[in-house]
Symmetry: C2
Subunit: 205 residues, 2 copies
């Protein structure tokens, strides 16, 4: 199974590495990091560099497409060459997926028109404005399109995907191999759980 993860300048690293870490553990799977061009890509905060070993002209028909988010998605949403690639890949993909604001890229191609989808909680209105039926959920399946919420949600999405592809035992094996038994020290992962004070700290940034 060939999996393409799109890389671009200004990507949020965990959006890409979360699903990669899960999906690369499936049997007979090859994950390819795909950029507009081959080469190193700086993440959103410029502190991390991940390499696109493949370009969009190298990888035409992956079985699974993963589109991560990050502020760099704003540029990708306007890049006709990448959008055409996404549309083309989606025509033959088994699964088309996104993490965080990666769903805004999917929406920009028209793929999400009228479809239930999700994104980072700060971007739900923008996703709606792009024609999707935006819902506040961790993972949303709409046919073969699977979108997930902000940053860390890509791990949950990929585990769910691995179960759909290879069965529950495979997903559990992957979960155990990653020791994914999350124990965040606080319960502040959604706006409702974090409360107004913390939400304001982000909105007034």
């Amino acid at each position: 199974m060939e999996i393409a993860i799109l890389l671009f300048v200004g990507i949020t690293a965990l959006d890409a590495i979360g699903p990669y870490e899960v999906l690369s553990r499936m049997p007979n799977t090859r994950v390819k990091f795909v950029g507009k061009q081959v080469g190193p890509v700086k993440t959103d905060n410029q502190m991390c560099t991940v390499v696109a070993d493949y370009s969009i002209t190298d990888v035409r028909k992956p079985d699974i497409l993963v589109i991560p988010g990050g502020w760099g998605a704003d540029e990708v949403m306007k890049d006709l060459q990448i959008l055409e690639w996404v549309q083309s890949v989606h025509q033959t993909s088994i699964w088309t997926t996104s993490v965080c604001t990666g769903s805004l890229v999917l929406a920009s191609t028209g793929i999400l028109k009228g479809q239930e989808a999700t994104t980072h909680w700060t971007a739900l209105e923008e996703l709606k404005a792009l024609g999707a039926s935006a819902v506040s959920k961790r993972v949303v399946k709409s046919g073969k399109i699977v979108t997930s919420a902000g940053v860390s949600a890509g791990i949950d999405m990929a585990l769910q995907l691995s179960a759909w592809i290879g069965g529950e035992d495979l997903a559990k094996k992957i979960q155990l191999s990653m020791e994914y038994d999350p124990q965040p020290p606080f319960d502040a992962g959604t706006p409702a759980k974090a409360g107004d004070k913390i939400v304001c700290m982000i909105n007034n940034k």
Copy 2:
């Protein structure tokens, strides 16, 4: 605050990127990916390339050291030049931390002698053999040394660290910005929770 994350061939990507994603969101923080040499580093499955923008001779006194794991840790444990760097950095660090089998590298320097520490569940015996008091916990604090369990545990460790450094509200803000509201589709993140059948799938691999 300067944070050094060690990179090496055969690293597990999420071990490094989990803590990076959390810690880079602290104010006035610079995360530096540090290799024995500057340059691209292939991860454990060869499918991902992360770049070490700095070498161990460039970064001598980071405030926080993060040592990720992966099968490549086996070589690092025998690399005297890296072990001496770890020891030297530990002398002036505010926090010395590890994810997954990164604690085996810490233990190889003697730093963990008699100290409570943890690692990936498959490596607890090895950690004990290296002189640490190995415990099966998600995150273990022993003075300024903080070790965490396998792969995904680095996210929880880093959130806890951000709270110790900047207070609970900062940690909650980071958690919300990453939308870290984990909802794994299964409850199989530890050997006990996954059960014998799944554990055997990994042990008999």
